[in-house]
Subunit: 158 residues, 3 copies
């Protein structure tokens, strides 16, 4: 979100400076390219973060951040601690691209067993900023390692 503000403010200053030096026709041309660059930045560019051969931890495009599936920091803990450390990693990734959990758009939660639904929800509900819950879905599916009990895919505005 900060990024959009940044180019806008800088853009205003650039236009104000230009106004002293140029003709109206030049200004219209500059104005076109200013908006074109804004479109290009927000719509065409893709920013990848923490990329390896398999995944990028975050991909940002058109002011939306896509997080790769997050799991617990320690797969040998119970559902409560796995959910807590998983969501701490979501926080960290969101902050790393200039957004936070108040700007989540969607979340898909995979649980190894629906027996853990209530315990997971206790941690989730406490973690979601009041009034800022994303659109959520939760289904039962096993993860890459058999000890993992929960995984989450998140998208957020940024």
């Amino acid at each position: 979100m900060g990024k959009t503000m940044t180019w806008s403010i800088r853009g205003v200053n650039e236009l104000h400076f230009a106004i002293k030096e140029k003709t109206y026709l030049d200004l219209l041309n500059d104005s076109f390219w200013f908006y074109y660059r804004a479109f290009e930045n927000t719509i065409m560019n893709i920013a990848r973060h923490q990329t390896n051969e398999r995944t990028s931890k975050v991909v940002v495009h058109n002011n939306v951040a896509y997080l790769c599936g997050q799991v617990a920091a320690d797969a040998d803990t119970d559902i409560t601690e796995q959910t807590q450390t998983m969501l701490a990693k979501v926080d960290e990734l969101l902050i790393s691209v200039g957004t936070d959990s108040t700007r989540m758009l969607s979340a898909t939660i995979y649980l190894k067993s629906m027996d853990d639904f209530a315990a997971m929800n206790l941690v989730w509900n406490a973690w979601v900023p009041t009034g800022h819950a994303p659109a959520r879905a939760c289904v039962q599916a096993a993860m890459a390692r058999s000890t993992l009990l929960v995984e989450i895919s998140v998208t957020a505005a940024c």
Copy 2:
């Protein structure tokens, strides 16, 4: 979709009014802020609908609506009726944010058992507006309650 049209038309009238009163330099400045506000409205703002501590039923950002996972109105019915009432809830949520099923972008369907694939598809195919099918995926996964046979996550343009 209506919203974008609304600010545009109002914007034209505001610009026309302004033209009588202001200098060209003022107009260029106004024009800049007009486009900036348009960007801000469509790209930076997030609208959450029917939000509780766990989920928002719909989140709208950048002209895309994200629906939370929808399930049947009554989990004690068969796959046909569960699919029908689930899709009726999707319709209701889409309409609540000014869009409809002709503008769906993607749909992920979770079935408790693939034995229900054909019966679910019969209802789905009849419900999708001709020529407007979203990009769909369907996999087998159990839901939060054991009697639920089907769940859907939808995104739509709005």
Copy 3:
């Protein structure tokens, strides 16, 4: 991505031509409608490709392509060949809407059995263009036909 460039370049030419013929007020009005049409094209329009009664193979909106779930070309092959032919179909669909695998945003992979995780990853890692991995999640879920071992949902910038 090509499309955005196209209207921009054409737009510049149209503005330059207009400058010879029109007043500044006309130019400001034209400029408004030029940007409005750009918004309309990228934000409001939806392009559906290879649409049938159940799904569109690709839906494009706001410079994002949503692919329907892709599976192997031949479900009677092993996980290596199923992953290869599935990703070849992803390539084909991305190219059909003017983008490619270097511009993927997110990928959700469903595996019938996590026993196939390592073999699937070998093919995946070799296929992903270096430095361009999407945000990926991978969970265990069965597909519509029992012989299918892997399915993928992809979004990409275009």
